[in-house]
Structure formats: structure tokens, C-alpha cells
Amino acid sequence: MQGISSKQMALGGVALALLIIFPLLVDSSFGQHVMILTFMFAMCGVAWNVMGGYAAMFSFGQVAFFGIGAYASSFLLLTFNISPWIGLVAGGLISALLAAGIGYPCSNLRGHYFAIATIAFAEIIRIVFNNWKLMGAAEGITIPMLKESLANFMFHSSKLPYYYIMLAFLLVSIAVCYWVSTSKMGYYFRAIKESHEIAKVLGVDVVRYRLYAIMISAFLTSMAGTFYAQYILYIDPESVMIMPISVQIVLVAMLGGANTVLGPVIGAAVLIPLSEYSRAWLGYKGTGVDMIVYGTLITIIAMYQPEGVWGSITNLMRRRK
């Protein structure tokens, strides 16, 4: 991984400045909503990338961490009146612990076996929450209304604060992913991706670094979950714990190009507006036409863009040099 050139810095700065003034120019509530969701899935995609892209641990169960993040902060706020910001950290820690709990027994699993294990794990979590009375079971939790403030992580008059908080979260996760990819750990992850055996021979503690990957990924995903709960103000297992969310996260990372820091951001920028607008246009009758389009879309993406958009762009640029 090379350092960032000054040209890239300038490009990044311009992109960030555009994102910061975007909601001031575009006053559409739906437009801002789509942007917020895009940032959120970009963050989840970046988090997925830490384990899936760098260490080739294809998780199809990220929604478990997302859901736990949402439930942890909501439960703490509802029952003990604890600030969602503390809930955010608590949820992240619980998710990371659970990630270690599932990651350890799965430390020898690769490829499909690992993917199925993550699905099984996420389904267990969903079934448990669906029946857990304390957590509202299938009825879910309505987050209590508080006064609008940053400290309360709640805003009623405008979506703008949510927009900027989510943007900040996304930047944090990008920073974490960049740090991981340039650190020694990132090289260990890549070694593990190539081959467990060779990594072991080279002295990489495979089990431990796989645990690090899944724990970092879980913590970040859980943060996005807490954000979602505070943004929508109502959660239930059907909205924050179902498998399609996990798949959406994988798609975002894959479409953008796994194992690049910014790939998932590009992926989310393409996929989320597409699926949100097609839902808004086609889904209003509840016929599922939007889902048919979505299914077709991801099939086509996987067939014709398997290396991701970002991967194709960088390949092209490399060839030009």
C-alpha cells in the first residue's frame, strides 16, 4: 500500500467539501434520506471489507452486529435512560465480544463453510431477539422521544444533523480501514487471505488476526446499527436483523471492489440510490416489482462486474500509466 499522493489528497478534499455542502443545496428530504442510507451502507461495506476484502472472510451475517448495535443502545435508553452515545460504545463492545465468540470456533472455516456459519450465527441472533420478551420480541422497541440535541443523539426538525453524524461515522470507518490496510495487521490479513498454511509458516498467528478482523468489523457495523435506531426511532427484528441487509452489505463491498479502502463507498453510491429510487417508483403498490428489479440488478452486477466498479477504474488507470 503506497501513501496518499497530494493529488489524491486534493481529490478527496474536493469530494468531501461537495458532500458537506450537498444537503445545503439539495433541500429534498428524500434525497437527504437516500444520502444518509448511502453513507450508512458505505460504512457497513467498509467494515465488511476489513474482514471480507482483506482477510477473505466472507461474512453473510453482518446484520447480527448491525442489529445488536441498534438493540443495545435502544434497550439501554429505554430501560435505564442511558445516552445513546454510551449505548453506541456498549453495542460496539458487545458486538465485538460476540464476534470473538463466533469467530473463535470458526477460525478454521474458509470459503462457503465460513459464509454459512455467519448466516447461521445471524439467524440464531434473529430468532433469539424475535422471542426475547425483554427486547420487545417480535414487536420491537420504540425509541423514547427526547429533546432534540446532539447529546441525546436525536433530532426532529431536520435531517441535517443525522446527515453530518453519519458522514463523520463513515470517515471514522474509512480512517480505521486505511489504518488497518497500511499497518502490519493489514499485511497479515493479506497473508491469511492467500493461504492459512503459508501465513502460519511465516509466523502469523492466524487465529488471533482473524479474530481482530472480525472484531473490528463488528464494532464498526454495530455503530451503524445504533445510528439507524436513532435515525428511524423504531426497531424490530424484521427491520434490523434480516439476511437481506447482510447481503446488501456484501453487495456494496463487492460492487465497489473488495479489498480497496474506498471501493465500498463507490459501491454504496451506486447501489443504494438505485435500490431506494426503484423502491420509491416501483414499490408503492407492494407488488414486489422493485425486488424483481433488484434481484435482476445484482445478478447482472455479479455476472459482468465481479471485480467491482472501483477495481475496473483502478485497472484502467494503471494501464494508462
Partner: protein, 285 residues
């Protein structure tokens, strides 16, 4: 005690159907290393074919088994030829995602043209229950599982005694060696996908006699079948057969002892514990 025996019987009955479904899935997985997320949706299509044949033409689901097998065989070959084969050389992730896309498409398309309603076939050739010293045996379910066993045995026989079957096993063991021996692996891929789908078609016709038929019926079957296949071991047909029965029994007994709401959670937990101890599955190498 009688209750327990009843649950055990129910578990074995559903487990045998799982076995048949899982054999179809493991055949595809073993030969081409593709995990078909749309397996459950293929089952849904099979069930609907039987349903329409029954309600429009009065053909009993049991008689529609061969038709179903042929229809799904062709459908599977079609999907392989035009979609799956395109991603075979791509990254593993793309293969996972492509079949997921197909499954979303099929389920929602079915919901669009047939509505999401639950349907069922009321009067088949089979109905009623046997009572064996207190344990009730529903005849449609019994015939369904017998049909599943016979079909599974048929697959075993086919793979071991026909040229195509042996070629499939050869590709499953070592693709490159099979190519050197002159086996057309592309043709074997598409045949295996077709046969795997045909088995789902048979299961669909059998299940249509005693199960609700609706566009989203596949989802729960897919996930359970993944666990069974991985539990049985990569591409192992015998493993899938044994694991299918095991999962059926664990699911019903677990649901009976703990809480029916948790029956799938128990199955998934069993999967996690098993692969922890044996990462290659029960019968994997």
C-alpha cells in the same frame, strides 16, 4: 413417551425430505463449488407446477413427479447455461451473489404473477393417518418421505452405475484429472446442475401433497439445506443424506423439548458446534 416417539417420527419424516433437497444441493456444490442460494426457490417452482397441474388439469401431485423432474431439469440447465456458467471463472463472492440475485428474482416474480397467498392441495390420492400404537403417521407425509428415500437411492445408483454418473463423481473428485481423462467438464457442470434441480422438482411434487405452497416457501428450506450440506461435508452425498435426517430429528425434538420458536436456532447452533469440532463436516475429507 408416546409424545416423544411421535416427535421422533415427525423428525425422521421431514428429515428424509431434507435429505433429498440436500443431495440436490450437494451435487451442485461438489461438482462446481457453487452454493446455490436459489435452491429453495427452485423447490417453490416445483411445488407451484404441481399445484397448477392439479388445479387446472386435475393431475395428482404424485403423478406430476416425472413432469416436475423434467421441467426442473431443463430449468436448471437453462439457469446454468445463461447465468451460472458466466461467473464460474469469476471470484467466489460473485458466485454467491449471483444465485442470491436469482432467488430474490424468482420469489418476487412468483409473488407478482401468482400473488403471495398461501395455497394447498386439498384432495390428493393420499389422505388420512395411520395410528400405530398411539403414534400418528400422516399418510401424505409418509409417502413423501418414502418417495424421497427412493429418489435418493436412485441418485446413488445412477452416480455409481452409469457413465454420466461416474463422470460426475470423477469431476467432483478431481476436476483437472477428469479433464485429462477426456471428460467434458462443462457438460458435466450443466448436467449436474440439471440433475440437482430435478431432485428439487421431485421434492416439490412430493411436498405439494402436504405443505403450504406460496412464493416465499423456499427461504427457510434454503438455509436449512445449506447447514445440512455443510454438516454432511463438502459434496458428500452420503453425508447429506445422513445430515438431512439428523437435522430433521434435531429440529423437531429440539422444538418439542425447548420451544418450537427456537427449532431452527437449535439446528443452526448444532451446525456451528459441529464445524467447530470437525471443520470439514461429518463426512468431508
Amino acid at each position: 413417551m408416546e409424545q416423544l416417539a411421535q416427535q421422533l417420527v415427525n423428525g425422521i419424516l421431514i428429515g428424509l425430505v431434507y435429505s433429498l433437497l440436500a443431495i440436490g444441493l450437494t451435487l451442485i456444490w461438489g461438482v462446481m463449488n457453487v452454493l446455490n442460494f436459489a435452491h429453495g426457490e427452485f423447490l417453490m417452482i416445483g411445488m407451484f407446477i404441481s399445484y397448477w397441474l392439479y388445479s387446472l388439469a386435475g393431475i395428482d401431485p404424485l403423478l406430476s413427479i416425472p413432469l416436475n423432474a423434467v421441467a426442473l431439469f431443463l430449468f436448471g440447465m437453462f439457469i446454468y447455461r445463461f447465468v451460472i456458467s458466466k461467473v464460474m471463472k469469476g471470484p467466489a463472492l460473485a458466485q454467491l451473489v449471483v444465485t442470491f440475485g436469482i432467488s430474490i428474482f424468482l420469489a418476487n416474480f412468483a409473488a407478482l404473477i401468482w400473488t403471495p397467498n398461501f395455497r394447498s392441495i386439498e384432495h390428493t390420492l393420499l389422505s388420512g393417518t395411520w395410528d400405530i400404537s398411539g403414534v400418528k403417521l400422516s399418510i401424505p407425509k409418509f409417502v413423501t418421505s418414502i418417495g424421497s428415500v427412493l429418489t435418493s437411492l436412485g441418485v446413488f445408483w445412477f452416480l455409481r452405475n452409469t457413465r454420466i454418473g461416474k463422470a460426475i463423481l470423477a469431476v467432483e473428485m478431481d476436476r483437472e484429472a477428469a479433464v485429462i481423462m477426456g471428460i467434458n467438464t462443462e457438460r458435466i457442470n450443466s448436467l449436474s446442475f440439471g440433475i440437482g434441480s430435478a431432485l428439487v422438482g421431485v421434492a416439490g411434487a412430493l411436498l405439494a401433497t402436504n405443505y403450504y405452497i406460496y412464493p416465499f416457501v423456499g427461504g427457510s428450506f434454503s438455509l436449512v439445506c445449506f447447514c445440512i450440506v455443510a454438516l454432511g461435508g463438502f459434496g458428500s452425498i452420503e453425508g447429506a443424506f445422513i445430515a438431512g435426517i439428523l437435522v430433521g430429528v434435531v429440529q423437531t425434538l429440539g422444538g418439542y423439548i425447548f420451544d418450537p420458536a427456537y427449532k431452527l436456532a437449535i439446528v443452526f447452533a448444532m451446525y456451528l458446534i459441529t464445524v467447530w469440532i470437525r471443520p470439514q463436516g461429518l463426512r468431508g475429507l
